[in-house]
């Protein structure tokens, strides 16, 4: 099927089909009547293609439909486990497999500092689990790669250690540790962990606006959009968003320009800052390093900063953010952001919306998207924010010596925050991005390709405005008076 080319994995494709069907009926106002028909549309039967039987497949689809409709309201986390979809993968850790040939070298034994390896009468290795600390050295040195790590992909993906197990062995998310980054969502091979969707809210906003007559619905798109929808032109994506019924489309990168301008100013005043753009990174600090909260920039995120500006110019506006991020779905519900952002969608959900209205964006004329500078646009990739803050300092005419640390992924963030908490030297500006690669690595991206970074840089270079000050000049009309 040609549509699969739009996604990295078949799990994403399945999730998309559910979102598309839910959206299709929501536009028509026939969703309630068709709730039980959607699973049959997606899995017509009679042969099962994913699970033991079509009945289980459809039962799981019913759960996916609930999540597409907003999910469990009693669970504050935007990331949810579908219990019946969880395959209860093995969690044994390092284990010796049948490939062990009982060799003479016993490198595994020599490298094990815990003395956890012993041998049976056939010279085959065994791991004493009471001694093993799962360091993995034995697996590395085995010439037959006979030692395997049985680790659940979700647990492996979750670098903040928020995933455990229920008594029935299904995956369980610890909401006190989860930062809603979505790494597990993207990595679970069974699609058993997924992000709640607010797609119905977006559709309601559009429908109730009566073609933007009652109020206007603005789409603000994250700069990583430039690396997505690779099968069409960006201008066609913009036309497509307007065809869905949005009044207009604005670059969130303009919000990033605002952030870069004021965050660099804040850095000069305070001398040491951690960034506030990535909601997963900010949540991580709040949960794991509460003493470092004082260093978090007081600036809103680019999404919230732009939403705030739009609502100042148009108080009745509804602002829908479309991006790569599941954590943004958590951020927009925070009291400090709620007034500015009404809904958050991912690129996956945008694709589902296009197809729910049978909009083939490749056939559309190209519209324009140009509000931000190069620096606002490169926020989408790791290191971009640091570059933008350096530029901001330059534009303020400051001689502040920037020592930026661009933390690429939450593990790198952790290392930098640990140093900061122990007063070890770690520069004076910590750029924290929970996803590896930055926002282009977000769980809500359609694709996570090698070329995405260069696409973002290319898009940055195409910006009409070359400096941050020029890009935000049009916003400062009131304060200049």
């Amino acid at each position: 099927m040609s549509k699969t080319r739009k996604f990295d994995t078949k799990v994403q494709h399945l999730k998309y089909k559910v979102l598309r069907e839910v959206a299709r009926h929501a536009w028509d106002g026939t969703l309630q009547d068709n709730l039980y028909e959607i699973p049959k549309t997606i899995v017509p039967g009679k042969e099962a293609t994913m699970r033991c039987c079509v009945y289980k497949e459809r039962a799981i689809l019913e759960e996916r439909i609930k999540i597409a409709m907003g999910g469990d309201k009693s669970n504050p986390n935007v990331i949810e486990v579908i219990d019946i979809a969880c395959d209860e993968c093995p969690v044994g850790g390092y284990e010796v497999t049948e490939a062990c040939r009982g060799c003479l070298a016993h490198r595994c034994e020599d490298v094990c500092k815990r003395g956890a390896i012993s041998f049976d009468e056939h010279q085959k290795a065994h791991i004493d689990k009471t001694k093993c600390v799962e360091c993995g050295q034995c697996a590395k040195v085995c010439p037959y790669t006979a030692i395997a790590n049985h680790k659940r992909p979700c647990i492996n993906a979750c670098k903040v250690k928020a995933i455990g197990m229920n008594e029935d062995f299904t995956a369980k998310i610890d909401n006190e540790k989860c930062i809603s980054c979505g790494a597990c969502v993207y990595q679970c091979p069974f699609g058993a962990i997924t992000d709640k969707s607010f797609i119905l809210d977006a559709i309601d906003f559009i429908k109730n606006s009566d073609c933007n007559r009652n109020y206007k619905v603005y789409a603000i798109v994250a700069p990583s959009i430039s690396s997505q929808f690779t099968y069409a032109k960006l201008g066609q994506v913009i036309t497509g968003i307007k065809e869905l019924g949005f009044f207009t489309v604005v670059e969130t990168a303009l919000g990033a320009d605002i952030v870069a301008y004021y965050e660099s100013k804040e850095l000069i005043e305070k001398g040491l800052l951690t960034s506030s753009c990535c909601p997963a990174f900010v949540t991580y600090i709040e949960q794991q390093f509460p003493d470092l909260k004082k260093y978090v920039s007081h600036n809103l995120s680019p999404m919230a900063a732009l939403g705030k500006y739009i609502k100042e110019t148009d108080p009745d506006a509804k602002v829908v953010f479309i991006g790569p991020c599941t954590a943004k779905k958590m951020e927009f519900q925070k009291p400090g952001v709620k007034p500015y952002i009404d809904c958050v969608l991912t690129f996956e959900e945008l694709q589902a919306l296009f197809d729910s209205k049978d909009i083939d964006i490749t056939t559309l004329p190209e519209d324009v998207l140009d509000n931000a500078s190069y620096f606002g646009r490169i926020f989408a990739r790791s290191g971009g924010l640091s570059d933008a803050v350096a530029q901001g300092l330059k534009e303020h005419g400051s001689d502040f010596e920037l020592k930026a640390v661009a933390c690429d992924g939450i593990e790198a963030c952790r290392v930098a925050l640990l140093k900061l908490s122990k007063n070890l030297p770690v520069g004076n500006f910590i750029e924290g991005m929970a996803c590896v690669g930055g926002c282009i690595g977000g769980a809500g991206c359609l694709t996570h390709g090698e070329k995405n970074k260069s696409e973002v840089d290319k898009y940055g270079e195409e910006a009409h405005e070359k400096t941050i000050s020029d890009a935000i000049r049009v916003l400062n009309l009131k304060s200049d008076k």
Binding site: E251, T313, D314, D367, L369, D370, V474, L475, L477
Partner: protein
Amino acid sequence: MKVKVCIGSSCHLKGSRNVVESLQNLIKDNNLKDSVDLSGVFCMGRCKENGVSVSVDDKLFSVVPDDVEDFFENEIKAKL
């Protein structure tokens, strides 16, 4: 008097920043800061026009950056 300049993508590419800057300077030079309320707005739905969309109270205009001074004299200063 309320003057709104479109800063949506299409007008931005037609030079809305230049229009904004010129208007800001003209308002300042003519000491009209208290009588003219200048603001930005994303899209006025007239993307096909040649110039940047500008509204003066509720009247719509299309202004190319080179004509800002004339526009200011005729539609803003003269109407105050």
